[in-house]
């Protein structure tokens, strides 16, 4: 409003507007970040590219979780706090299946690994999909007409319940899985920059998932229904779309993604604990907000940026805060985005967000 007043007062014909304090500060922060990155690149180029690759891998993983948040937010405007914990349960389901049902050991042969991985993926996805739909049925659906904060509060409750399901099931320690790929086998190793297979497999699993999701949302009837419900529930209902079923379907898809992410995470990190889902869920939510919540490509873009920032923070040597500060940095970014650009990178400015 203040800017409008200023343009009115300005002499006619003068179109250039002095940028306000908030955008300038934001720009300054981004510039400082870029300067820091370039100086690090100048100091140790090989390390820089190595870290960059780790960041892309992390980002791909975060992207799958972030998509679950953004799908649900897009359709219900609800932050599904329980999503991170569904993801954690997905990791536990995968760990159980790989070690106890299929008896996987360190560095299995590729002919054995691929079917086991695909079967576990299917089990984890279906399991998490069902968990997510159940949570929606019990904790969110009865509160459709309630004040907005009510389902948000039950979401926190559901998150704690799921965490404790994991705690009861696996105890308070780490559940570990074997290395599925020898850590030393690389996809490529050029001029000191190596990219091992155990990282590349994350990308290999994520890309088909993303393509499948894009196909589902853009090209199928059910996807069209999802987009319609996200836009306007009443109008969608009048067009004959079963709104409740579409919402449940969205939760199912989000759960499927969480299950897949759980498997990917557990094979990448080789261990999972009951409280890791919530932490990673918050980071993934930050990614979704960064990209513009409700916006699917935005979630992936945001996840890549956050993954890169995390990797740079933990991997670069020149004046980086280090891994003990990762969460603080990610949440500071969340706060800064919400203050400077609440609509995110790709989102549209909405009256509520701004």
């Amino acid at each position: 409003m203040a800017t409008e007043a200023r343009t009115e007062a300005a002499p006619i014909g003068k179109t250039w507007q002095r940028p306000g304090f908030v955008p300038l500060t934001g720009l300054g922060l981004v510039l400082a970040l870029l300067l820091w990155l370039f100086y690090n690149l100048y100091l140790h180029p090989a390390d820089f590219f190595q870290v960059l690759l780790i960041g892309v891998t992390l980002g791909a993983l975060y992207g799958v979780v972030a998509l679950g948040y953004t799908l649900v937010y897009g359709i219900l405007e609800l932050i599904n706090f329980a999503h991170g914990d569904v993801f954690m349960l997905g990791g536990m389901i995968s760990a159980t299946f790989m070690t106890e049902v299929f008896g996987l050991h360190n560095n299995p042969s590729i002919g054995y690994l691929i079917p086991v991985l695909l079967a576990t993926l299917a089990v984890a996805m279906v399991g998490c999909g069902l968990i997510n739909v159940t949570v929606e049925r019990i904790a969110y659906k009865p509160l459709r007409g309630a004040p907005r904060l009510a389902p948000l509060i039950t979401a926190i409750g559901a998150s704690f319940i799921l965490q404790n399901v994991g705690l009861v099931w696996k105890g308070s320690g780490y559940t570990s899985v074997p290395y599925i790929i020898r850590r030393s086998s690389n996809v490529f190793s050029v001029a000191g920059v190596t990219y091992p297979w155990f990282r590349f497999i994350v990308i290999l699993l994520v890309v088909p998932l993303l393509l499948g999701l894009v196909y589902l949302v853009q090209a199928t009837r059910q996807g069209k229904a999802m987009r319609a419900v996200a836009q306007d529930k009443d109008a969608a209902a009048m067009m004959g779309i079963n709104v409740n079923r579409t919402i449940s379907f969205t939760f199912l898809i989000a759960g499927l993604l969480a299950g897949a992410a759980g498997l990917i995470y557990v094979t990448y990190e080789t261990e999972i604990r009951f409280d890791q889902g919530f932490q990673l869920g918050l980071i993934a939510f930050t990614c979704a907000v960064f990209g513009g919540i409700g916006n699917l490509p935005g979630a992936v873009l945001g996840a890549l940026v956050i993954g890169l920032i995390q990797a740079f923070n933990e991997g670069l040597t020149w004046h980086s805060p280090g891994s003990t500060w990762t969460e603080s940095i990610v949440f500071s970014i969340l706060i800064l985005i919400l203050v400077f650009r609440p609509e995110g990178l790709l989102g549209e400015r909405t009256p509520e967000g701004g």
């Binding site: 003990t324 500060w325 969460e327």
Partner: protein, 473 residues
């Protein structure tokens, strides 16, 4: 209406109607009689079901008589002092607690009544819950990072009443005998620090609130959550900020020891020993902490109620009910919300400072996100917006957290058929709180003791009801 209708209530009344007691007839009976009947039924049930299990003694009957005396008569109808009687009776029951606690009976399943340590915890968490209630209950802003304020309060007390900054030595009113020989650092009286911590925390509330309060409800929730995650991490990593070697928080070890409260030898001998010179060296340390906690809680309650009825408090409630309408009526949104935040933070700061002094140390592991949800759970369980409900929620949950769950777990392990499993109930406490949150939000969103206004809001859905909608006759 939100929430789920179970249908148990309907079946219940249909059954009673067959026996000649319809719902309408029941409602027409005077309230004291209805309360007496309900309490009598509960008492009878306890006698028939619980006594054989547990064996009540005389103390149980006395406790029940006190309960009847407080709850049954319509004390509010007594002229002039009517409104104050029930709170005073409850206060009396609490104030006398140290004297009769040892004589109380053992509760079935729950075991003995809470010890004095837990009673101090109840007072502290009660303060925090009442503080959070100002933000969540009155103003309707979901704050998921209340633990940040608790942490700021605790650390600001610890900085100025501990050997932390040992390059300086200042003694401003620390109780006699609290500072060891040769110990350096700031040592300011805890009484002054309660105020300092509260002001610090309130300022932090404003700083956190100013950029974020213009965001919509759920965005605000996530931002507060973010602050609630950042501050404990700063506390954990703060033994050498930015590699400068400046030790702000002493890292994971925390700041330890923090000076106890006390009035000093002078004041103590002047009042004939009523005011203790030093809380920790006094004969009954825990009782003194308990009374101090109750005193601070009373101040918090008083401020909370007076604030609620003030112009500012009514503005908060207006914002909670309909932000747009409130803005249209001339309520300055940002300023009012910031005040809600600052007031909630203020009391969180007092509670944190007092707790730091009570525990004699501040440890970063006390400030996890779980604590924020724990306090939020008290507010939701008791009834958002109603201080009495919130206090009840705080009492029940704090007791369960510090003693009750352990006792229940012990009882379960004793009475369940012997198996390979040993149930460690306190380990699952947060799952249980999560369950409590979900069940309350689904079946009784107004909480155990609802505020009349909030209940109406939830049941009629003030937000969505069009103004021109005339109810069909």
């Amino acid at each position: 209406m939100p929430g789920v209708q179970l249908g148990i209530g309907d079946a219940w009344w249909r059954g009673l109607e067959a026996a000649g007691l319809s719902h309408a007839r029941w409602r027409s009976l005077p309230q004291p009689i209805r309360r007496a009947v309900v309490l009598g039924a509960i008492g009878l049930l306890a006698l028939v079901v619980m006594a054989p299990l547990n064996g009540f003694d005389a103390a149980a009957y006395v406790a029940f008589a006190v309960l009847v005396l407080v709850l049954v008569p319509s004390w509010k109808k007594v002229p002039v002092v009517g409104k104050a009687i029930v709170p005073l009776l409850v206060l009396g029951v609490f104030a006398g607690y140290p004297y009769y606690a040892a004589k109380l009976f053992t509760m079935p399943i729950l075991g003995p009544f809470p010890g004095m340590n837990t009673m101090v915890d109840i007072a502290v968490f009660g303060m925090m819950a009442v503080g959070l209630n100002m933000v969540v209950g009155y103003c309707g802003l979901l704050d998921l990072g209340y633990v940040a304020f608790y942490a700021i309060g605790a650390y600001s007390a610890a900085w100025f009443a501990s050997p932390q900054f040992s390059s300086h030595f200042i003694n401003w009113g620390a109780p006699d005998g609290a500072i060891g020989i040769g110990v350096r650092g700031f040592h300011v009286s805890i009484w002054a620090l309660l105020i300092v911590a509260a002001v610090f925390t309130a300022i932090a509330g404003v700083v956190i609130g100013l950029p974020t309060l213009r965001l919509r409800g759920d965005y605000l929730a996530i931002v507060t959550l973010g602050f609630g995650e950042i501050l404990p991490q700063v506390a954990r990593n703060g033994q050498s900020l930015f590699n400068t070697g400046f030790n702000l928080t002493n890292g994971p070890q925390g700041i330890n020891p923090v000076d106890p409260p006390g009035f000093g030898n002078g004041l103590s001998s002047l009042t004939g020993g009523i005011l203790p010179a030093n809380f920790t060296t006094d004969v009954d340390t825990l009782n003194i902490y308990f009374y101090t906690g109750i005193g601070l809680l009373l101040i918090t309650l008083f401020c909370s109620i007076r604030l609620r009825d003030s112009r500012l408090g009514r503005a908060w409630i207006a914002i909670r009910e309909d932000e747009v309408a409130a803005a249209a009526m001339g309520v300055p949104l940002m300023r009012t919300k910031t005040w809600a935040y600052a007031s909630g933070a203020f009391f969180g700061g007092i509670a944190g400072a007092f707790y730091a002094s009570f525990k004699g140390g501040v440890f970063p592991d006390d400030f996890y996100f779980n604590i924020s949800v724990f306090i939020l759970c008290m507010v939701i369980l008791g009834g958002m917006g109603n201080v009495w409900g919130v206090l009840l929620g705080a009492t029940v949950l704090t007791y369960l957290n510090f003693e009750g769950l352990g006792n229940i777990g012990g009882w379960l392990n004793q009475h369940l058929p012997a198996g390979p499993h040993h149930i460690d109930l306190p380990l699952y406490s947060f799952g249980i709180y999560g369950l409590v949150i979900v069940i309350i939000m689904l079946f009784r969103p107004q909480g155990l003791i609802p505020s009349a206004r909030r209940k109406a809001e939830l049941e009629r859905g003030v937000h969505d009801e069009p103004l021109y909608d005339v109810e069909a006759a």
